[in-house]
């Protein structure tokens, strides 16, 4: 059970939120030139790491806004909460692509 710090509402119970899965997946721009395998990679394939994970969360029963979280998937410890379009202050380098993410 997690206490989640919504960037807009402050600390709230986890049951108010929905997890939206892996963050910083950038929608490809060259969609017509992509192979089926490249589409599969974008649509279905996920990092699913054991350790540091950047993910999207939605404050469903609150302000109804999306934000990002960096969390350790082994301990469930929340390492950082940051807004859409920002880069995680904690990272494994993967978050460097965060700037390219389109606003939700």
């Amino acid at each position: 059970m997690m206490l989640i710090e919504c960037p807009w509402c402050g600390p709230r119970d986890q049951s108010e939120f929905r997890c939206g899965g892996e963050a910083h997946i950038v929608r490809p721009t060259d969609s017509e030139g992509m192979s089926d395998a490249e589409w599969a990679d974008y649509v279905f394939m996920r990092k699913n790491p054991k350790g540091i994970h950047h993910e999207r969360w939605f404050h469903a029963h609150g302000c109804r806004r999306w934000f990002n979280m960096t969390r350790d998937t082994v301990s469930d410890r929340i390492l950082a909460v940051y807004k859409v379009g920002e880069t995680s202050p904690v990272g494994d380098g993967a978050a460097a692509e965060a700037g390219a993410e389109a606003s939700k």
């Binding site: 059970m1 089926d36 649509v43 394939m45 790491p49 054991k50 969390r71 082994v74």
Partner: protein, 416 residues
């Protein structure tokens, strides 16, 4: 392997059961094997068993980071059924169910397979239409399945709430009479004993930390007990599938989630079947010890923590209390979580990979236990022949590029 029988039981009783031999050895790993199975759960042990028993490949090791059957094999709610919607799934799960029906004799180990029936409840007209469609699809595939109306459901399981005014009243149900439950630990132990007797090395407390790949082909695995060479490697590690795949540079369409279950204090027999409800997200059966075995849902975030959130349990128990008012005062004795590997189409991946000699069996999500014998059987075929068995051909990894998904969300639900 000494065969178990009424006579060996009597003979050992005379010596206070102090002279039973170990059911399997605990050998040191050899430097090389023909096949290494990574993951000593039910599916991995079954794979090793069928490699030896059906394909004559006995130079095999099963490497397990903890103890065999200590992961999801020992954490599920032991339900076995095959009433899936699509032809591909029906083929796979019915193949498994047929193996279940002869498994105790095949393994000479009592897996306590009890065909007590599984009911899937409907609470309204629309759900009933959906479930009747599944009944018809099952029957076309030769799977026993029938529709029970409200009164038949209440007769079949009298402890169900018969109040028509509750939020989710009983409307009807599907019933698969050949479905039921099995003893989960016994499945792991039975396959381990059978595989060991045919020469398979079962190596516990041995975690795989890397995969040796040279020129696009697997040559062995790095483990906490040193390197072990192998011509072929089958990865059957459930929630850790993505971690192992990453060692081979592969990405999988899998997210790992906690899935919880819990059991009550034991009570006298009140329920001789399995009841599941997708709408209220709860399912329940009674173990031979008398505990009510209750399955909850997954937590929606990724986690490898083997524990879930309390709100998920609360939601499940709210539904259980309404469905079965008789259980509302029971204390819950134990609660636990496992890490399940959820695929986007709620179907497994039993497949070759782009790396020669490396095979994957994963993505069973919330419902792998029921498929244990069939999964091991077709995966052994895939490894031995380097091509899929016709039954698991539709469950290849490349279906995510081709688009030929096997979307079983309705039949998979959360139950396993």
């Amino acid at each position: 392997m000494s065969r178990y029988s009424i006579f060996t039981l009597a003979r050992n009783a005379l010596t206070n059961h102090e002279n039973w031999t170990e059911a399997w050895r605990s050998p040191e790993p050899r430097p090389d094997y023909d096949v290494i199975i990574v993951g000593g759960g039910g599916h991995g042990l079954a794979t090793a068993y069928y490699l030896a028993a059906e394909h004559g490949i006995t130079n095999v090791a099963v490497v397990e980071k903890g103890w065999i059957g200590g992961g999801n094999t020992g954490r599920n709610t032991t339900i076995v059924r095959s009433n899936y919607l699509y032809d591909a799934s029906a083929g796979l799960y019915e193949h498994a169910l047929k193996l279940w029906e002869g498994l105790t004799q095949e393994l000479n180990f009592n897996v306590m397979f009890s065909q007590r029936g599984v009911m899937n409840l409907a609470h309204d007209h629309h759900e009933a239409r959906d479930l009747k469609r599944r009944v018809n699809a099952n029957r076309l595939n030769g799977i026993d399945s029938e529709w029970l109306d409200r009164q038949q459901v209440l007769d079949f399981c009298p402890i169900l709430n018969r109040d028509p005014a509750i939020r989710y009243p009983v409307y009807g149900a599907t019933l698969q009479r050949r479905a039921g439950t099995a003893r989960h630990d016994a499945v792991a132990w039975g396959y381990a004993r059978g595989a060991d007797a045919r020469g398979v090395d079962i190596i516990q407390n041995c975690e795989v930390t890397g995969l040796d790949i040279q020129g696009g082909r697997i040559t062995g695995v790095e483990t906490t007990r040193g390197r072990i060479g192998a011509k072929k490697v089958g990865v059957v590690v459930a929630g850790h599938a993505s971690v192992l795949a990453a060692m081979a540079g592969l990405r999988l369409p899998i997210d790992s989630h906690p899935l919880q279950a819990l059991v009550s204090e034991p009570i006298k027999p009140v329920m001789d079947t399995v009841v599941m409800s997708n709408a209220v997200h709860a399912y329940c059966s009674q173990s031979d010890k008398g505990e009510m075995v209750i399955g909850a849902g997954i937590d929606l975030y990724n986690s490898y923590s083997q524990r879930g959130s309390f709100d998920v349990i609360e939601e499940t128990l709210v539904a259980i209390c309404e469905m079965f008012p008789i259980l509302s005062r029971l204390s819950m004795m134990r609660q636990w979580g496992g890490v399940v590997d959820v695929c986007p189409d709620a179907s497994p991946i039993i497949s070759k990979t782009p790396i020669g000699g490396l095979y994957l069996n994963c993505g069973w999500g919330t419902g792998g236990f029921k498929a244990t014998p069939g999964s091991g059987h077709v995966f052994a075929h895939t490894i031995a022949r380097d091509e899929p068995h016709p039954i698991n051909a539709p469950f290849a990894l490349d279906r995510f590029a081709s688009g030929a998904l096997v979307a079983e969300h309705g039949a998979a639900a959360v139950a396993h």
